[in-house]
């Protein structure tokens, strides 16, 4: 398994709750290369669910996330883009990825990312987080497959009810788990 993952690249669009936690899971699993992109800095309010620390506040997320990931595994390749993603640059930023993990916050952004990715890379999977808010109700979290689009979450809860670390991290790890599963299945 390690030999297969070591030669694979996964893109992660957004380095918030979903993106930072799924990145950690993938690096711990032994993924060879990650392409991460975000334009934001770490704020104190992020520390309740995102993989950052108090000493990271005011620093760019892609910079400190890269440091944390390399501290876990110094052999992983991290290609970090400190940039606001738009549809026009998705092919250039993530074109080398075998799979894309969607880790945006706003539903509008999730929508255009799915449309853009499936237009340019119809044969490459995109794994989305959809319905991650609140607490409890772990049994409602599921994976829905729609061609090469995978949705992880409960498909119902919205961030307006509050995002809590435990449930966000479960879905982030579901996304990483689906990515590993796809790569292993395709390697058979």
């Amino acid at each position: 398994m390690l030999e297969i993952l070591r030669h694979k690249t996964i893109g992660i669009a957004g380095c918030g709750g979903l993106g930072s936690n799924s990145a950690v899971a993938l690096v711990r699993a032994g993924i060879g290369s990650l392409i991460i992109a975000d334009y934001d800095t770490v704020e104190e309010s992020n520390l309740d669910r995102q993989y950052y620390f108090r000493t990271d506040i005011d620093k760019f997320k892609v910079d400190v996330l890269s440091e944390h990931l390399l501290a876990i595994n110094p052999d992983v390749e991290i290609i970090a883009h400190n940039i606001e993603l738009t549809p026009a640059i998705i092919p250039k930023i993530f074109g080398n990825a075998d799979i894309l993990i969607e880790a945006f916050d706003a539903a509008e952004n999730k929508k255009w990312l799915i449309e853009t990715w499936t237009k340019y890379f119809p044969d490459k999977p995109i794994i989305c987080g959809n319905g991650i808010a609140g607490y409890g109700e772990t049994d409602k979290l599921k994976v829905i497959k729609m061609g090469n689009i995978y949705f992880c979450g409960d498909e119902q809860t919205d961030s307006s009810i509050g995002l809590f670390s435990a449930r966000v991290a479960i879905v982030a790890n579901m996304q990483a788990n689906v990515a590993i599963e796809i790569l292993m299945e395709r390697a058979k």
């Binding site: 706003a106 498909e155 961030s159």
Partner: protein, 66 residues
């Protein structure tokens, strides 16, 4: 007859489009992803693609949070 989200049934008609299905289901939320028989359908095709009879249509609403 077509099935929507594994539960709702809609009478099929010749030339039926995704837009027709969304209107019939009163889905007016724009942040959705739609598939027909497991194949994702791009937004540009909502008014063009003709849905076959007995199709399995899925409409997923995209939620905020990341």
């Amino acid at each position: 007859m077509i099935t929507v989200n594994n539960r709702d049934k809609l009478e099929w008609h010749d030339g039926m489009t995704i837009r027709d299905v969304l209107n019939s289901m009163k889905y007016n939320y724009s942040l959705i992803v739609v598939s027909v028989n497991g194949k994702p359908i791009h937004l540009d095709d909502y008014d063009i693609l003709k849905i076959p009879d007995y199709a399995d249509v899925k409409v997923i609403h995209i939620m905020h949070g990341g």
